[in-house]
Amino acid sequence: MDKAMIELLARRAGLTKALAEFPEDVTAAATQAANVVEKIKQPIDPAAEPWPPMRAGTGL
């Protein structure tokens, strides 16, 4: 993720203040996120559901 993209995403997330005061931390956070996503295998089955499933009638 390049610097411009990081800044764009940070501003979109409302991290303007963090970007001004802690730019290295914002870059480190963005880099952590980018590195981790690519390690996850995408489910092959289009019908693979997320966990936890929606279950009607089990709310509080």
Binding site: K17, I40, P50
Partner: protein, 469 residues
């Protein structure tokens, strides 16, 4: 109540202390005084406490003594002291999360797990150090210093339930509550050589606990022995209709079966975690093999089991954890980023950079991973694997902390929600605890305790205490 000491009072376990108090062989006041004296001596080196509530604890001990003398015991933990991680509410005390963000955040009511402990007669001693909001640490830029490892105070005690691990191990209190979202009960248990359980997801209510990640958070008992852990779980487990994640299962009886033989139990050894995925230090590998051989000698059948890689489990945990944590911390990170320590700020802000699609894909992969662990547990009764791949590193070397922190096998079972227990597997050549992890079927903590106790009894790890005086 008695003339001479039973043993050194600070090494009395939960069951021993409760029994001695119930039989009027031990005064709760005498026990509390011994522990407060020890805290006064050792805690300046350990920093296990953020806030010691000694006066209230002593008053409660006096009330417990009067009740015991009158033959009125509140429950199975009558008069037994407990420490509480400082993300868990204790009425009348601040819940700070070890953070400037929540300084002065006074709790108006006990968390459900604390309420249950008090209902059973336990006495709250105070609030314990944690990594900031159970994610950022060990940090030296927070209002309180990080906890230290009693086996060597220059070393990290593990986290995030750092004060819980440090204090139980050092004999400041016989039991503590921790929380575990990516391994935060089991890491300090591993580093400090005690027993830490992450129960099945939903077995212990999270109500009154400051959240880190809704679908990964667990509350767990931390003790010096397996039997004490089972006893503590019996008290804190149970359905809470006001916790959306709470499981509607009957209360288990965990302590009664801990001494059962492991003969003919099937143990699945996940060797690839520490041999291939994240190669462990040779001392850790040798300790794990020793645990497996010991269980075989006790009559268990040990066979190899394969699961998805640690790298992928860790990534799924991270995406879910940081996305959910961002939903909680986003408003403060936008307005008050400077009030977080650097480690928490970096880790919590990462959640801002995941897309909704990243989160949903991680949750979809999670369900597949759950199915894979469930399939493995159809062929064996319990899984055996590494907890930490290294002994605790020094607390003052950020590069070592950065390197060793991800070298663990705990996050898989936050992702899947299976119960997992970490405990001592021996000592390193440098005298630091090595660890092992046992994993069970959903709500089958009883078998987990049974296997853990077999190892504990055969090895005598429960009799090893840190050299700190």
């Amino acid at each position: 109540m008695r003339d001479g000491p039973l043993t050194e009072l600070h090494w009395l376990g939960v069951a021993e202390a409760a029994k001695a108090i119930a039989e009027k062989d031990l005064s709760p006041v005498e026990l509390m005084k011994a522990l407060l004296d020890r805290i006064a001596t050792l805690d300046p080196k350990l920093n296990a406490f953020i806030r010691l509530d000694g006066e209230a604890a002593m008053q409660a001990a006096k009330a417990a003594e009067a009740e015991a003398t009158a033959g009125r015991l509140r429950g199975k933990l009558h008069g037994v002291p407990v420490g509480i991680k400082d993300i868990i509410n204790v009425a009348g005390l601040p819940t700070t999360g070890h953070s400037k963000i929540l300084q002065g955040n006074l709790a108006s009511a006990d968390a459900v797990c604390v309420e249950k402990l008090r209902g059973a007669g336990a006495i709250v001693m105070g609030k314990l150090s944690t990594h900031e909001f159970a994610i950022g640490g060990p940090s030296f830029d927070l209002p309180w210093p990080p906890a230290r490892n009693p086996w060597n105070t220059g070393h990290h005690p593990g986290g995030s339930s750092s004060g819980s691990g440090s204090g139980v191990s050092a004999g400041l209190f016989p039991m503590a509550l921790g929380s575990d979202t990516g391994g935060s009960v089991r890491n300090p248990a591993s580093c400090c050589g005690i027993v830490g359980l992450k129960p099945t997801y939903g077995l212990v209510s999270r109500r009154g606990v400051f959240p880190l990640s809704f679908t990964l958070d667990h509350i767990g008992p931390m003790t010096r022995t397996v039997a004490d852990n089972a006893m503590m779980l019996e008290v804190i487990a149970g359905h809470d209709p006001h916790d959306p994640g709470s499981a509607a299962v009957p209360n288990g009886h965990y302590a009664a079966g801990v001494e059962r033989s492991v003969r003919d139990l099937r143990v699945g050894f996940i060797r690839h975690f520490h041999e291939i995925d994240v190669p462990a230090e040779p001392e850790v590998t040798a300790a794990l093999e020793h645990v497996a051989r010991t269980l075989q000698l006790e009559g268990a059948e040990v066979r190899d089991v394969h699961l998805p890689t640690l790298g992928e489990f860790g990534a799924v945990n991270r995406v879910i954890l940081q996305s959910e944590a961002w939903a909680i911390h986003g408003p403060w990170l936008r307005e008050r980023p400077g009030d977080y320590g650097q480690l928490a700020r970096r880790r919590l802000m990462a959640g801002a950079f995941f897309s909704a699609g990243d989160y949903v894909q991680a949750q979809r992969r999670r369900l597949e991973m759950i199915a894979e662990v469930e399939a493995a547990l159809r062929d064996v009764d319990v899984l055996l694997c590494a907890s930490s791949m290294d002994p605790a590193c020094r607390i003052d070397r950020p590069a070592d902390l950065e390197r060793t922190y991800p070298r663990q096998a705990r996050t898989p079972f936050n992702v899947t929600g299976h119960p997992a227990l970490a405990m001592m597997a021996g000592l390193s050549q440098d005298g630091l605890p090595l660890s092992v992890q046992f994993v069970g079927r959903y709500f089958d903590e009883a078998t987990l305790f049974q296997v853990a106790r077999a190892w504990e009894q055969a090895s005598g790890v429960d009799r090893k205490h840190p050299p700190i005086v």
